[in-house]
Every structure is written in structure tokens, then in C-alpha cells.
Symmetry: C2
Subunit: 347 residues, 2 copies
């Protein structure tokens, strides 16, 4: 069985301290996850907006000054002729776009995988111009003694996937963009296969076809190639719009176990299982017919963006599998199960 715990949502916006005075938390969702020491760490996507003021439009920005960066507020008079209101997601001002919400990555820590303490300060946040509009949807992969964390880097030049590394979850070494725009949902495998690093990714598809799960290889985690489209959306109510990879895979005797997401009719997001060949991870062995998690609870069906469950963090610890997932683009939840249950989901 796959149990959505009764404590869900395990992290809510109110549990997170804003980055600065005047900011407010709109979401603490889509957590990456990993085991560090005797704890489970979540890498929360924290999205923030700015408290508004009569007669003004205020948006969150990062200021880059003297080699450092810090969050700030851009305040524009509503009657400024240079201000162009776009949709609810942002404004255009003096030749530049600004988002009305901006994300960073915040750590949360737990011994039992259910009760978390959220750090006071951001962990990964914009320090470079190529991520000036925010850092979203982190995924952590432990390879040897290092943790590689990929994330969506947003800038005036679109969105792409960037990589950073850490050994201690204190010091971060940013390694730049590894999948050019427009690409998200990158999941790096926890070990090399035949001498190459391996990842799943999800290029945008504005042409024919629908956004699908792709494969890639790398000699060094920084340069990627051998691109191949390996899983397309199916023509079902659950996957009619697009699909994308989820968390880094779990290695099992039967293959690489992946939990991926599908966007279906009425923009409902669900989670599915997929099994890839251990030796040839670009080959699909099995694919679950039905979703393993769909939005059913009020905290999943209602919220900032209702009817969304989205996982980018799955952890195996003490015989259990913790599937962390964002609900309604607002909170973080967990469903607990084990590898056998997931491997039986293909029947």
C-alpha cells in the first residue's frame, strides 16, 4: 500500500520564514529529498511574493552588488507609463520582465521523515544573472560522497536546468547550466552506467508531439549528449497533455525504478511508476497502467494550483520508501510505501 500520511501536508507556507521583511510565502512545495547523516533532508521550493501597497505594484527581485546578492523589492508607481501589467505571473518594466513570485530552495530536516524543521534562511538562491528570477524544483543525487543538486534556473533568457554540488549542505559550488532552455524535470542517476553519468530530462515541446521523457549521458555531469526520447505521454485522461521525470531513480534488482508525473485532462497532475533496464537505462521494461498517486484529498485538490501532485524527491530509508510531493503548488506531503509495493504496481 501507498499511504498518504495523516499529518499531510507535512510542510505548509506558514512553517517557513520569509527571506526578508515585506515578503510573504505563497508555497513550500515540490521538495527534492535525500538522506544526509541520520536525517532526511528536503529541498523545498519556497515561492514568495511581496506585500502590496496602495498605488504601487511591488515585485520581488534579487540585487547583485559587489559580488554578493540579496533579496529586495522593486516598487513601481501604478501610473508609471513604463509599467506594463502582464498576467498574474508578472509585469514588464523598462525593457525587462519581472515575476510576481520568485522561488528559492530551503532545507528542512527530519529524523522520522514526517516531522520537519525548516531552516531559517535560503539554501540555494539567485547569485548569478542566469538565475536572477529564481531557483525552482531541486533534485538531489548522491554520487560517492557528494550531493549533486539540479534545479530550474529562471532568468530574462528563459528557463533551463543548472547544477550545483555540496558535501555538507552548507557550502555550495554552482556549476552552471547543464541543459539549455527550455528543459526541466532533470533526474540524475545515483551511479554511472557503463562509465557514463545518466539522466532523464524533459525538453519543452512547442512543436509537434507532446512534452516527453528524454534520456542523456555525460562524461563529467557538466557536458551532456546522446539525447534520446524514451517515453511519450499515453492517450489517457491522466497523461493527455504531457509527462516528465520525477525524482532520481531507485536502483532495484529488477531495474531503475522511476516515479514520473503526467499532466492529463483538466490539467490534473498524477504520479506513475516506470522501470528502466539496469544495463541500458534508455530502455523501458515496465510502465504502470494506472497512476499510483492522484489528487484526492482537499490539500491536493484545492490550493494555489489545485489538482496537482508533483514529486521530485523519493527516499529509501530503513526498508521504507518516502515519496515526497508537492500538493497544489502550495504544500509538501509524503506518501510512504516500500520497493516491493512499487514493483508490484506494474501488474
Amino acid at each position: 500500500m501507498i499511504e498518504k500520511v495523516k499529518e499531510n501536508p507535512i510542510i505548509k507556507p506558514d512553517d517557513v520564514k520569509p527571506s526578508m521583511d515585506g515578503y510573504q510565502i505563497s508555497g513550500a512545495f515540490n521538495p527534492g529529498a535525500t538522506v544526509y547523516g541520520d536525517e532526511i533532508l528536503l529541498l523545498l521550493r519556497v515561492s514568495e511574493s511581496v506585500l502590496q501597497k496602495e498605488g504601487y505594484v511591488r515585485v520581488p527581485i534579487y540585487k547583485f552588488e559587489g559580488g554578493t546578492s540579496h533579496p529586495d523589492i522593486l516598487e513601481i508607481k501604478k501610473d508609471d507609463p513604463a509599467l506594463i501589467l502582464k498576467d498574474t505571473r508578472g509585469v514588464y518594466y523598462k525593457g525587462k520582465d519581472y515575476l510576481s513570485t520568485m522561488s528559492h530552495i530551503r532545507l528542512a530536516r527530519s529524523k522520522d521523515g514526517i516531522n520537519f524543521r525548516v531552516d531559517e534562511h535560503p539554501f540555494i538562491y539567485p547569485t548569478e544573472l542566469w538565475e536572477e528570477y529564481g531557483v525552482e524544483d531541486a533534485r538531489a543525487t548522491k554520487i560517492d560522497d557528494r550531493f549533486y543538486i539540479n534545479y530550474t534556473a529562471v532568468s530574462r533568457n528563459s528557463w533551463a536546468t543548472a547544477l550545483c554540488e555540496t558535501a555538507d549542505f552548507k557550502n555550495i559550488n554552482k556549476l552552471g547550466i547543464i541543459f539549455h532552455p527550455e528543459n526541466k524535470d532533470v533526474a540524475i542517476f545515483p551511479e554511472k552506467v557503463h562509465g557514463k553519468y545518466v539522466a532523464l530530462h524533459r525538453p519543452n515541446n512547442s512543436g509537434f508531439g507532446k512534452a516527453s521523457i528524454w534520456y542523456a549521458e555525460s562524461p563529467d555531469l557538466l557536458h551532456w549528449g546522446k539525447y534520446e526520447c524514451i517515453v511519450n505521454p499515453r492517450d489517457t485522461m491522466w497523461e493527455s497533455q504531457k509527462i516528465g521525470g520525477g525524482a532520481p531513480p531507485i536502483k532495484t534488482d529488477e531495474g531503475w525504478l522511476i516515479i514520473y508525473h503526467g499532466k492529463g485532462d483538466n490539467s490534473v497532475y498524477s504520479l506513475f511508476t516506470l522501470l528502466l533496464d539496469l544495463e541500458k537505462p534508455n530502455k523501458v521494461i515496465k510502465r504502470g497502467k494506472n497512476p499510483i498517486i492522484t489528487p484526492t484529498e482537499p490539500y491536493e485538490t484545492e490550493g494555489f494550483f489545485g489538482n496537482v501532485v508533483f514529486s521530485n524527491g523519493v527516499v529509501e530509508k530503513d526498508g521504507k520508501v518516502y515519496i515526497y510531493y508537492g500538493a497544489a503548488d502550495e504544500t509538501s506531503c509524503v506518501a510512504i510505501t516500500d520497493v516491493d509495493t512499487l514493483l508490484n504496481s506494474f501488474d
Copy 2:
């Protein structure tokens, strides 16, 4: 001076033999170019459609059978309920998209750079499923004794940039997709810089900002990274929509000389000069204020897609620079100049 030769267009659709009976040539344009032996070779993008028949919709396809591939015609009754007519670019039939025109790469050869003989048969054409809908816009880079040719590979899973290599323009070794969807306008530099291969590319941008010229590095031509956006469109009538790299650069004493294209107001395409630092090719040294080639002649302003000039092949030979370009997505043209003239275009 930059002289559009009086022989333009130097190659027209009528100069090209269709791939099979029932096909017709709609364009022979956007040529890649290189010097091979004592000849200039063009790598023409040849686009073909199918002669129509009363009561049917007929589209060009490639059939993949027993390890080989060949062009064929898919004929669908107009009243077949599974047929969905899309815009003029294609149809949707039984769960798959089909294009109404399909491209391959054809060689043309010349001693003087103006008068060309077009080969009878395709040179690069779909042999793999990831290029099943055609092969477009080739660019050739000679590195040591091999020619590396990148091209847009189109498939049911969108469009991407693939690479192949040849030493003799007879045998081709296909190396797969090197820039995942959606990416075009890849120009590989003719030598390594500080031990790394270097390329410009143009990721699609459906988000904020406009499609721009990006930089990338590779250890082996197959795996790419170090992605960086280096040139954005300017807010002028010539570049208001988007820009993209053109042919592989010419090395000069002053820097890497690039001819790039801009799409401006009313979807007019023009060509511009750009100079990148020899040692740090991600740094712009100079950028021409005005286009060096715009659509002015009837063969540029009228045709399959009027008001388009687009270059992906520039050759330096015997002190002259031959700028080959597609006109109106229909024919191939050349403008002749020299390096000094291009370097003076920045003043």
C-alpha cells in the same frame, strides 16, 4: 562592398531532381558551405512536397524497413475520419503528425563559387526515427581532416540539432542528437579554444525574453555544456522578434567573425556581423549597427516565404568571402565580399 551577384539566384528548385516520382521540389535553400579539394560544396536544404490527386491528401514520408530507408508517399482518402487537416504545414492521421513538405540535404559543387552542379541524389536524409520528418539547414565545419555537419533533425518528438561526420562527402557517420529540443542555428567553430570545442546555438524561447544566441563548449563534439546566453535581440526594426547564429565563424586577426540573422518587424529576416574574442569566444567585441544584407531584390522579397535572407554557409577562398544564403525559403544566392569589408562593417 558586398555584392549580390547578377547570377542570383544561383540555384533554383528547378535545378534539383526530386527524390522520387510524385515528389516536387518546393525549395533549394539555406545552403551550408565548405571548401573540399578545389571546389566549393554547398549543402542545400531541399524541401519537397507531393503531387496531389483528386479525393486524396498525399504527404511525403520516409519508410524505414530492414535497416534501410527510402522516400515514399502516404495517401489518405479525404473522407477518412482518422484524417485531421492542420494548417498548410501538415496533417494529423491515426495518432501521428505528418508534414506536407519534407527536407533533405543535397550537395552542389562549383569551381567558381557561382555556377553549381547539383547532385542527382540526396546526401543527408532520414535514416533514423529521430529524423523521420526530415533533415534541415546543414552547417559544415572542417576540423583537421574531417568535416562535421550539424543539421536540424525533425521527428514526432519535435526538432533538435544532430551531428554527422564525413571525410569524403560520400560516406556519412551519423552521431546523433547533440542539442536537445528545441534548438537550431548551431555553428561549430573550426578549431578548439583552450582545449574545448566551441559552438553557438539558438534555443527556442517560449517564455520571457526573445530567442537569442547562446554559447556552448564540448570535450568531444558529442556532449555539450557551459551554456551561456551571449547576444540578445536589439529593440530595432531588424531584430525585434529574434536572432540566431549563422554559418561557422571565420577566424580573423581581430576575432571570430560571425554572420548572424535577425527576424524583425513584419517577419523580415536580415544578416548582421558580430565579432567574438579569439581567446574567449563567449565575449562580444563588436556588433554591426546595421544589417549587411537585407531583402531588396525580387528573388528575396517574393517567393515561398518572402522577405527572408538566411545564411548558414560562409566560405573564405582565394582572398574572397562567399556568403551563401537562402532567399525567400526557396532559392540559394551568394553575395561576394572580403574579410576587410566585413571587419569594417562594425564602424
